[in-house]
């Protein structure tokens, strides 16, 4: 067990986004430090969840989370308060994640056998999300609870980049269109368009898979089977 102990009450997002809390965070000395620690306690789970839905390893997630909080600390004096504090932190986290993914992709290109790895990940997905309970389960699969929901989780992975980012922020993290637009540097209208597109692609993908399962369960019903 660590020496950490909970201090005061853990603030929720609403409290963290209040001007009073920002004032505490900006205070010098122990007051600011304590406020920062409370802010970490109040946001830790949520941002870790956001990061781990996109990065595979627990170790990497923790590193990114720590980098994010360091960046928050460094950037706080310049934080103008134009957006919510938590939106700004999401934005920092988003950029850190993008950097990590870009670094990894660069690394993958150098490794000629990388495709074998991704193939085995694909195959692992056919077990219908069963038994996914561990903290470090693969990113989007953490959302699975039943077959349809599991398929939706898998469909998210299949979305093209921009639509996936919008979908994650809006429908998985529950941010508003304006917040997502700010984080991604696009217009709210663009968020709306991308989100609708993402949802439709997810539904199309899920329906396709469901049709495949149905067809597999009802072979030769129409006499079109080629077996025997």
């Amino acid at each position: 067990m660590s020496g950490m102990k909970p201090s005061q009450s853990i603030p929720d997002f609403e409290e963290i986004n209040s001007p009073e809390f920002l004032e505490m965070l900006l205070a010098k000395g122990p007051t600011g430090q304590r406020a920062f620690a409370r802010m970490v306690q109040g946001t830790h789970d949520r941002f870790l969840g956001f990061i781990r839905r996109q990065l595979p390893s627990q170790e990497e997630c923790l590193e990114v989370l720590q980098e994010v909080y360091l960046a928050v600390h460094k950037g706080l004096p310049g934080f103008a308060g134009k957006s919510k504090l938590t939106t700004w932190i999401y934005s920092l986290a988003h950029h850190k994640i993008c950097d990590r993914i870009a670094d990894r992709d660069r690394g993958h290109k150098e490794l000629t056998e990388s495709r074998e790895g991704s193939r085995s990940t694909e195959n692992a997905g056919t077990d219908r999300w069963s038994g996914i309970t561990s903290w470090d389960a693969p990113p989007d699969r953490l959302m699975a609870r039943n077959a349809v929901e599991g398929l939706i989780g898998k469909a998210v992975e299949a979305l093209p980049g921009p639509a996936r980012e919008v979908y994650r922020l809006r429908d998985l993290e529950g941010l508003s269109g304006e917040e997502a637009a700010e984080i991604l540097g696009i217009t709210p209208e663009n968020v709306r368009v991308q989100l609708h597109r993402a949802r439709r692609q997810i539904v199309d993908w899920v329906q396709e898979k469901m049709a495949g399962v149905r067809n597999a369960k009802e072979p030769q019903a129409g006499g079109r089977g080629s077996e025997t």
Partner: protein
């Protein structure tokens, strides 16, 4: 389904494109009526709407596993080492300002 049905309502693809505004409650009344008329007669679009809602409400069914305490301790320890947060030991309780100044 008769041709009249499709004249009074919308084609499937259009109905599916309205689903975003429908969930947001932003469909104009007449459009909403035609939208519902279509849904009443079209099982495929009902299924599509069911899945669309599921996709839009992913936050509700997403599995969230609280991070182990050790991870929070590790983060706080790291930040303390970086001088971002102070030691948590016996810091005096400080009333947090709330409400009126």
């Amino acid at each position: 389904m008769s041709g009249l049905f499709y004249k009074v309502t919308y084609p499937c693809d259009k109905v599916r494109d309205f689903m975003y505004d429908y969930l947001d409650g932003n469909l104009p009344t007449v459009t909403a009526i035609r939208f519902h008329l279509h849904l009443n007669g079209c099982a495929q679009c009902r299924e599509y709407l069911f899945l669309y809602k599921k996709a839009a409400n992913a936050k509700e069914f997403r599995k969230e596993h609280p991070a182990p305490d050790a991870l929070l301790a590790s983060t706080l320890g790291f930040l303390e080492k970086e001088g971002v947060t102070g030691p948590e030991d016996d810091a005096p309780e400080e009333p947090f300002p709330k409400g009126n100044p």
